[in-house]
Amino acid sequence: MKRILASAVLTLALGTAATAEAGQTLDNIKSKGVLTCGVNDKTAGFGAADSAGKYAGLDIDVCRAVATAILGSPDKIKFVPLSAPQRFTALQSGEVDILSRNTTWTLGREAQLGLLFGPTVFYDGQGFLVKKSANIKSAKQLSGATVCVQPGTTTELNLADYFRANKLELKPVVIENLDEVENAFFTGRCDAYTTDSSGLASTRVSKAPKPDDYVILPELISKEPLAPAVRQGDDQFYDIMRWSVFALLQAEEKGITSKNVDAMLKSDDPDIKRFLGVTEGNGKSLGVDEKWAYNIIKNVGNYGEIFERNVGKGSPLKLERGLNDLWTTGGLMYAPPAR
């Protein structure tokens, strides 16, 4: 923590115009041949490193999509694990090119921190995890409870807001390290643990001694649109990041998957032809290879595949699509036309 923060401050002070000049981020990525991606390494389903040091998760796949669009390969990535308090400074100072680490998109973060957020990749809300034996049915019963939370998150602010608004008494235990804060909850230091409900599901499944001993309370106390973010100042890179995510949604909407994408190249649908680069134009506009969307879908899959594999039915988390379903099936996921 200290090291990254210190080096980040040093970069801000010493760095000449380098990190902020227009177009510089994209040029850097291309000349190095690698996308540096700030991620979570401890939240199963979103961003986690396995014992072999291989990263997997929904946020990880977003990085892979962006890397594929720019560099043509999902493996030309350097992952930098960041804690919640480290992440923005690391992005601002140029330690990472893109932050894809279950980060909530807020006004303050865009306007004050000098960031730009891409499309929401997961619609979430903050919840509470409690012991089943405590017999708590609602978050409103938590007055006087000790609540474990990570510092420097929207979670911490929402928690204070919610307890203030409902006139409940709050005793927060705030620990930076995710393992330590979860450990404090599971050993009984806290009555409740709060974070985004997706994170709670992940913690419950992957860290609880017995997942069935714990329940997630029904209340969601906030809106948490999780989105990837980049620094302000390189609009072209920002566009590529956004459209890489939209490509995932577009592909799912059109029924293009990693399995059938080759067959889809022969499709007669003009929309699909444009999307996959059979009809050229989109790639040139963005400044990437014409096959960018094809490469993304071929290598990473569409949004539905990513969701199911990391957090949905095909994963231990078993989350419902809910808000994260396509707009055509009742969710909020919607991509503007790629033309």
């Binding site: 923590m1 980040a8 801000l12 308090p85 807001d161 620990i175």
Partner: protein
Amino acid sequence: MATSGVADRGSTERSSDTKIWNNPTVRGVFWQIVLIVAVLGSAAYLASNAIDNLARQHIASGFGFLNRESGFDISEKLVQYEPSDTYRDAFLVGLLNTFEVAGLGVVLATILGTLIGVARLSPNWLLRKLAQCYVELWRNLPLLLQLFFWYALLHVAAPGPRDAWNPLPDVFISNRGLMFPTPSADPSHKFIWIAFFVGVVASIGLDWWGRKRQEATGKPFPILAASAALIIGLPVLVLLATGAHMTLDKPVMQGFNFAGGSSFSPELTALLIGLVVYTASYIAEIVRSGILAVSHGQTEAAGALGLQRGLVLRLIVLPQALRVIIPPMTSQYLNLTKNSTLAVAIGFPDLVFVAQTQINQTGQAIEGIGIIMATYLAISLSISLLMNIYNARIALKGR
């Protein structure tokens, strides 16, 4: 030419003949000016560069955030604080928490360290070896590891609040912390405080007068008993005189946790234990080396004069040992204060903790780190100043 040069150098008018850039004073001043300009110039360059970079990246800068609502809660506070208060208030809470840990830590570590240090020199074999084991164990383990150890011990080993241990009436130990009763506030209590301070001042005066008398007449004055009577007796008398308004605010189990009374949280306790145990192992060695530095002849001479063992230690050995002990002790106090920033790891809200939250919520890392550095520099320099004053007082006076 050569001979005339030698003659010139030997002459008394040397200074008027030498070129100005060969004058040592001028050269000294010149290089100092160059150095100062270089240092200030680099600082100005770094500052303007940082400001430019922040502006170009559209990152907010300045200390305006201090007056904004912080929005986050802090669990341990010595003053009133709500999430609706400002960042300035949050920093104050953090600073006071740092003072609390550093102050308690320095006092406790000094006491424990001195005891262990003296035990290291004990004629008792078992005691000596135990003290040695203590020093070797705690001095050689990383402090962060020790903090995690104590913290885990406190919240894994201790029971939940419903099954809290109850070693004394109204005292509870659970993984929510140590809960104990405190007297509830009463208007008459301010007189008790006044009586307490009167007792302290009177004791100091009495001590001064007692020394004077002893120097003049040789009669010792029982200062210990007298000051104890004054400092404890006066407030008790006042308490009885004002009608003995003394009700206890007891901790009572309510819902999730104990309400009422006072408490030490597991975070504070773990941090204090960790810092004290670790620093005491260094202080023990400093005390031991200080005592060993007093020549054995001094002890023997004191013994030859017929002084008892306790008096030898108090009057002969310790005053001389202190001169050796104080300078390295200052370093240990500084270390303890700076090590208290490891509180972040186990969730105790000290100044660094508050600053990190601020950095992350506002994104203004340079300002936050600036506040941390300025504050710790001020605290450390204050400790050094106080210890240097004390050191000057006890140092050998050249006559």
